[in-house]
């Protein structure tokens, strides 16, 4: 299983999903009413490394984090 964490203001509990890549995750989250509207603005990290492409294979135990728009300071 892959753990999906929703950071900051998304306000959704973590998910455990059986997926092999980020394209599969995208299809799942587009159907999730609490999350779908965030997808266009969210950056993505896999195992705490920021990524810029959806062409990433996922393995059992991986963690995917969604990072909505930021504003420190």
């Amino acid at each position: 299983m892959v753990t999906i964490d929703f950071l900051g203001p998304i306000n959704r509990d973590s998910l455990q999903v059986d997926i092999k890549n980020l394209s599969e995750l995208s299809e799942i989250l587009k159907k999730d009413e609490q999350v779908s509207s965030w997808l266009g603005n969210c950056a993505v990290a896999v195992n705490d490394t920021m990524i810029s492409s959806k062409d990433i294979a996922l393995s059992d135990g991986d963690k995917v984090s969604l990072l909505p728009p930021v504003c420190g300071g």
Binding site: L7, G8, P9, L22, L25, S26, L29, K30, L39, G40, N41, C42, A43, V44, A45, D48, T49, M50, I51, S52, S53, K54, S65, L66, L67, P68, P69, V70, C71, G72, G73
Partner: protein, 150 residues
């Protein structure tokens, strides 16, 4: 000073004098000709009582480490302190500093460091209004590369 101490997180508002005095004491004898400190203070505007912050520390740490490496390549050092949780008006939530042998490097680096912090560091800001947190969406910036799952 270890990298861990160069990035400090605090619950609530920052003890500004303590932090900046410690940085000065730590680095004044290291032959840095320029030590530039930026202190961010929460402004009273739009009826807010203050701000509140969430931080995702693993990615903040790696973001900070990459800036430390960039600074070290210029013989400089970057320092940062930030608040977690609630910070009331007229107190500080953010301090950044650069120590450098040369003034020009420090002035340019503090500008780049603070600007990249605003658009890349994994920190989320909320307005505190009547005891509730409201996400400061209109002042927030999507991180570079956002939207790949849409």
């Amino acid at each position: 000073m270890t990298n861990e101490n160069k990035l400090q997180l605090f619950d609530g508002d920052l003890p500004v004098e303590q932090i900046t005095n410690n940085w000065y004491k730590e680095f004044k004898d290291s032959n840095f000709g320029a030590i530039i400190t930026f202190v961010g203070v929460v402004r009273d505007e739009d009826g807010i009582d203050g701000l509140s912050f969430d931080i995702y520390e693993p990615i903040l740490n790696s973001w900070f480490e990459s800036w430390q490496n960039k600074a070290n390549d210029l013989n400089a050092v970057v320092l940062m302190a930030h608040s977690k949780g609630d910070v009331l008006n007229h107190t500080s939530s953010y301090i950044a500093a650069v120590c450098s042998p040369k003034r020009r490097v420090a002035l340019e680096l503090i500008d780049e460091f603070v600007e990249d912090f605003k658009k890349s560091a994994p920190i989320w800001k909320y307005d505190l209004i009547d005891g509730k947190r409201e996400y400061a969406q209109d002042r927030s910036t999507a991180i570079n590369g956002a939207g790949i799952l849409s």
